[in-house]
Subunit: 158 residues, 2 copies
């Protein structure tokens, strides 16, 4: 029998080691649109962000940066429901977080997240108009490990 | 400059080597639902199916088997639009196929696909009532390799 504490530990492990994050939005015709994105919670790849995310171990907050001009921004503003999936195929386990994504307009937070080599994506730096930060505070986590499956309600949004 | 022939070769490579497949349906409230599934086109893992899929190199047909009783079957029957994503994070490339999924009712085809060790999922064999086969003939492929992105229209459905 697996208890909620163990499931939360499994979710955190996938969130902090998974690569990449598989992010799905829904287009105007109802077709899901999936793409790989940087998993900024991956501790090996983004050690600078560990202190930020350590404040969000309980609520599993997920953050992304993307180009303001990208089609996904248009989609997300029209339809905020998204899923984010993390998988460890070798250990045969995975988790999906679902909820409504929101745009972060806080320039302090954008500065805190900024990595200098991101100028290749956003030439003008953290306050580049084409740099958008996104936040998902998930309402639900659904996943599996081997033949065990689980569902955790994390909020009242969904 | 990358031409369509090269893009098709990239799509086939991801389809035939990717593991697992990330499959997303949309629930009744409009929330995308993602889970990992066996990529039956992975040639190393399912060599028995290579002859079948060699007939579908041009149309990128994707097949899945799943439990008839699973929630995804309920979702797919109500809303056929799905996305299937394949990624090679090490080579930094990925592709999404999108379109409408359909249930396959052909028992010859179910027999052709059958693997004896699947009795752990479907105890009664290929004609187990809980064994359902699904087919996606994609309408679109969208992907990337490094900084190159592409979109291929494969049909007129979307």
């Amino acid at each position: 029998m697996v208890d909620e504490k163990e499931i939360r530990a499994l979710c955190l492990d996938l969130l902090e080691t998974g690569w990449p994050a598989y992010v799905t939005t829904v287009d105007a015709k109802g077709y899901p649109q999936t793409r790989a994105m940087f998993n900024l919670r991956n501790r090996d790849r983004f050690p600078k962000l560990i202190p930020f995310f350590d404040k969000h171990r309980e609520d599993f907050t997920v953050m992304f940066t993307t180009n303001t001009s990208s089609t996904k921004i248009t989609e997300l503003k029209a339809r905020p429901p998204i899923s984010v999936y993390y998988c460890n195929p070798d250990k045969w386990r995975g988790v999906m977080f679902g909820g409504d994504i929101e745009v972060v307009d806080d320039s302090d937070e954008m500065k805190e997240f900024w990595h200098d080599d991101w100028t290749k994506y956003y030439p003008k730096g953290y306050d580049d108009p084409d740099h958008t930060m996104l936040r998902l505070v998930p309402a639900v986590a659904k996943g599996w490990a081997g033949s065990m499956t689980f569902r955790l309600e994390l909020g009242d949004k969904q």
